[in-house]
Amino acid sequence: MVKTSLHWQIIIYATIILGAAVFILPFIYMILTTFISSSYSLPRPAEVLSVVPNLDNYIAVWTKEKFSRYFMNSLLVAGVALVFGLFLGALTAYSFVRFEFPGKEFLFRTFLFTMMIPLVLAIVPQFTVINSLGLVNTYLGLWLIYVGGGVVGSTFFLRGFFQSIPKSLEESVLIDGGGNWRIFWNIYLPLSRPALGTLAIFSFAGTWDEYFVALAIIKDEALRTLPIALMMFQGKYASNWGWIFAASIIVILPVMIIYIIFQKKFVQGGINEGSVKG
């Protein structure tokens, strides 16, 4: 390996640090704002930078009517949608990669097409369907939409990944007498961990943040999810920004935790390298 000169190292590190600072500064600013009380107008830099850290706003937000309850609701909704969405998506992707059936390409394109429809347009028909199934105001109705929508995205994403898995690997299973299920469960899923990890983050963040559908389907205040509670902090005429930011921090914590859990998978590419003799 050629040793990089000190000069270059300094330049590279400076660029990296600068880049990181650009991304992290607004976030730090946001955290500092959560320490400010009575901020009906956005506080100024001087106020923000001289603030004494305290948890007043966090406590106010967390103990505010049902906020903690909404947090648990959201965990349940996003958690179940994550597991089912990923599993069904992987199964669908597998069938698109390994099975031949009539209308396969057409079906796949239809899948893609549904991804292009803006959510706002789909909300009325989706609601109508859920309503005629009698699932308004139930999590089942919500999951149906989330999982259904999630399957499309994850199929698209995983199909490409599955195609890169060498065929000879599954032949070894077939020789040992295993079937499709075994190939899927013991070869495809373990080898796709990086892709699944990435998808898990996106899927969780997607349903965790989802607002429009949740608001349309869930009518009962007690069943509402976190993004709706977050939006309630925004008043028509005035908003307490300290509260909004504190609530936002609480809302993004689980997403960050999920990210930390799964981020290792991002870089763990190439598991199947060397598994097949060239």
Binding site: S41, T128, L215, A216, A238
Partner: protein, 425 residues
Amino acid sequence: MRTPLKTLSSVLTVLMLLLASAACNGKETSNAGGAGEEVVLEYWHTYSDEEEVILKEKIKPLFEKEHPGIKLKLTRMPYEGLKQQVIAGVGSGEAPDLMRMDIIWVPEFAKMGALQEVSKFDGFDEIKDKQFKTTMSTNAYNSGYYGLPIDTNTKIAIYNKKLLKKAGLSEAPKTMGELADASRTLVEKGELGGIGIGGPNSWSMLPYFWSLGGKLTNDDFTKVDGYLNSQESIKALETLVSWHEEGLISPTIIGKEPGTWDGMKHDEYLMIDDGPWFYSVLMNDKKAKRDVMEYTIRGLIPEGPGGSHSVIGGQNLVTFVNSEHPKEAWTFMKWMASKEPQLIMGETGLIPTNKEAANDPKFLETPFAEEYVQQLETALPRTPIPQWAEMEEILNLNFEKAIRGKMTPEEALEDATKKIKAVMN
């Protein structure tokens, strides 16, 4: 780019709505309404934190006590995407029984056929006579009424005491000329522009545009040509543009900081305009460092060639056509428009729409109420037509273009007139 996309999406939404409502005719009817059975009215509202407390702890128990057999189920809705929620609800027959909605939405939903015409109900005329005429008029569509006003508001001029003194004045300016002079004096002394217009949008601009002599439509709201592009309107917008060029208007008009509340708090803006929530929110803030009553004084929107005209905001109470309990819903609406509940909600600074309640000494005790009630006498509604949303978008865009110097005021208003005319037909 935004406008055609938005139009397209709203057209599609309406199409889907039609499809959806056609598909939903077979909706089952519940067995409620039988003798002795309790009726639950679902009520969507958008009250703020403090207002919701009063609603839950005072309004609901009082109504239920006076009307055994009717219960209220309160659901607080967030503003974001609320219109889509209502459309989805209406389209699938799942709209609530009652809703408190922004006054500017009523004609639009009435045109969609979503709202119950309340002028057909018993005792409507009696209720109507007790309301302020202008707020009542925001419920009108096609010679019928589709809701009752539930609270109203308007904006008045709020002055910073310290800067007013620095401008050499001891009380609030009475005319637009005095306001401009005061702002000029302060700008010469190195202060920021003192006329606090919140942004280049109609809600912020209209009080000045109207007071300076501008008009949007004729009095029946049917004709825009000859009004929006009249000499008076052009002159009004020209005055605003020239003030902006002179630096007399606060930087908020082009979206710059500090915001109006912030600039007022830090003694940077001579004047801003805002609704009663400015006082109710800030006075309720236990941790505020400065007492808002100490550093501000209130005045009417200064008079110009057109008079002193602020803009009316507020909420109306409506019931939807697919409500299964129209009779009970109407009972609640009538009750809510009566004096006592109006006074109870008035405790939070919401201005009653019932004339008796608004002039009741108990309401006028609210420290800031008087000026608002006075301003309401000459305040004007934004054009109460179903196409207001589109009209507003055109106005906002052209107001901004004029302020930013991309169009002359005359071009901006001629262009807006042409486009609004097309939308109205």
